[in-house]
Symmetry: C2
Subunit: 388 residues, 2 copies
């Protein structure tokens, strides 16, 4: 432990990205000693934290050393391998969420199987066998669901990709070849004709306390979350409550500790589970400015087994828009315009190197009318990118 | 400059106390590179910042070296001596607020003279001459105002004190003797029969933009701000607007850059200026949780000459209570109670060593009814201190 003035609870966060950075922002008022385990000193969270530990997150030695300096370990991402997680637990570290929960966020096949067991509504899906039978299995599945279908790498993906939409057997065969070459198991899912995408977040503590945030609408573009409208406009109460219950059940059944995000498709027949994330999530950034307890504070409280904070919204509507990098890296020269134009706008920059298409920050704005707020958030994000 | 991923604006803050710590919390989302100049690595802000510079804040050499790494310098406190401030300006540093403004926050005699020139309403006051005539001058003043009177050290104070209430000539003589021995000039002020104490904060940028926060009620105890009610309950609009205009005029006339707090006495005849502070101030901590733009974000925007954020309140009422240290230093063991009892409460700890009577944090809570919120904030502060 570094020198401290009092016995503050310490949380070690593995990964130095923007989620760890925003966790540091939440740790300051709580007096929680956040310790960042990063790959380099220029990672997003490393730039704003004292006592950053540099190391390799696949190294049991590096992480068990780090764990000795922290009361609790948690995560900026889901990439720490299962054997490393289990070695940490065996070494006596409090790993939250634990490996038994995290594997469902790391492996889409395990997640689908478990979700089905729990009776959670899912898109139709099938595991594809390794080897030459994959194409025939996929053809049989597509004969039931129709084309296009969605192919997903069960774990990790390759070439930076993990989800593909295949229009027909030829494009599917190409994905199957690539996955086989990379030794990555695949599953296939029907392409859901959704009305819109939703997400719901809950926090859960080891004690078992749960806090559910309002269901939000998420707008994806090119597989990236672009905008979030909180709460989801016009969502009927029954669907909202059902989605929150679903997330609470999943958190409970999988023994999740910390924030859980459940990404959903809204369809005429109800909601379907798309993906799970066991950490603060892009769909919850709105809560930093639009709820009594932001998701990063809530995550810290949950992993420390402290009583959870109120997830109540502080405004009728909050909209978040991600800021992507453009071709001009000098984002700060554009501060003047967005701040002068909209004094109510909240800007969150991640301190990252600007590269075209990379998430480098987000903006939020709160008020009464989602349509007005969305226009303002979009305008600010586009301007900060350099598009306007 | 430390390694950065993009040309982020950098603000150097002189002093590593809780105001610098809360400025770091605000700097993270802005992407502002906050650089802390502290006396030791265990100061409040040093615990939560990367690249802390340790040095002596009365050393021109230490501070000019530090200034070279920052776009702008600002302050956690008002203790940097004028000659040091002027040397920094001469070295080319952007010092905000500048020494010409800061001297009015550093020297109560200068402040009273200037406030009078500006026509700002002040308590009756008089400078006491050094030497044997002080007692006679004070007696003449007290003959006009009546006893008790308030004696103030013009600069700095001594023995950790700067304000004394004297009931009569004997206790006054004692203060005069102590001040003479410490070579500290004194002024005497009438003891105002105020209805309550108020404070008003404005932010001002070098460009001249001003944002005024709602007038708040402050409750002092033993010379320390204990509680703040925002906005001041039941304050009539005329008085509120007059107080905001007064603060704006003072900010403009004194060329203040950053946050200015004007502490006021409310009297049946109107408000009187008590003190000025040219930095984020205890009376403005409520704005971190109760306004669109908290005072620390606003201060950073102002000193960087960025457009100011909206000071609009996000709830009808917000109450802040300071958390003082008690005899049991283990404040974190008391987290469970306050968090479980009031999930809407926001706790802010400063990471300081717990000593009886020392400000170690504050709590805020927002809602509709000041009376209810005050009871909740008081309860939490008392519990965290260890009184309940």
């Amino acid at each position: 432990m570094s020198e401290r003035n009092q016995p503050a609870p310490s949380v070690g966060i593995i990964g130095g990205g923007q989620l760890a950075r925003m966790a540091q922002q939440a740790a300051i008022p709580l007096g929680v000693d956040l310790r960042v385990f990063a790959k380099s000193g220029t990672e997003s969270a490393a730039l704003v934290s004292a006592g950053v530990r540099l190391g390799d997150e696949r190294s049991v030695g590096d992480l068990t050393d780090f764990a000795k300096t922290c009361d609790v370990l948690t995560f900026d991402h889901e990439h720490v391998p299962q054997p490393v997680l289990r070695a940490l637990v065996d070494s006596g570290a409090a790993v939250r969420p634990g490996p038994d929960a995290l594997r469902y966020a790391q492996d889409k096949l395990l997640m689908r199987r478990r979700a089905e067991e729990l009776g959670a509504p899912c898109p139709r899906w099938r595991e594809l066998p390794a080897g030459p039978d994959a194409a025939a299995e996929l053809a049989a599945f597509a004969a039931e669901t129709g084309w296009p279908v969605v192919l997903k790498a069960a774990r990790g993906g390759y070439d930076g990709k993990g989800v593909w939409v295949a229009d027909g057997p030829d494009s599917a065969a190409e994905v199957i070849r690539g996955a086989a070459a990379a030794d990555v198991p695949l599953l296939v899912e029907e392409r859901v004709g959704f009305t819109r995408e939703l997400a719901v977040q809950v926090a859960r503590s080891p004690y078992g306390q749960v806090a559910a945030y309002p269901v939000v609408e998420t707008v994806q573009r090119d597989g990236i979350c672009h905008e979030v409208l909180a709460p989801a406009p016009g969502l009927d109460d029954d669907t909202a409550v059902a989605a929150q219950r679903l997330a609470i059940d999943i958190a409970h059944e999988l023994d999740v500790v910390g924030m859980l995000a459940v990404e959903l498709f809204e369809t005429p027949g109800g909601v379907l589970v798309n993906e799970l994330a066991m950490r603060p999530h892009n769909s919850g950034h709105w809560s930093m400015d639009g709820a009594v307890t932001g998701q990063f504070e809530q995550h810290l409280r949950a992993v420390l087994d402290l009583p959870l904070g109120s997830p109540r919204t502080t405004a009728p509507a909050t909209v978040m828009a991600n800021v992507l990098g453009g071709t001009d890296p000098d984002v700060f020269s554009r501060y003047i315009h967005v701040m002068a134009k909209d004094p109510e706008l909240k800007v969150h920059f991640y301190g990252k190197e600007v590269r075209p298409g990379r998430k480098i920050g987000h903006v939020t704005v709160s008020g009464d009318d989602h349509r007005d707020l969305l226009a303002r958030a979009r305008d600010a994000a586009a301007y900060l990118k350099g598009d306007l």
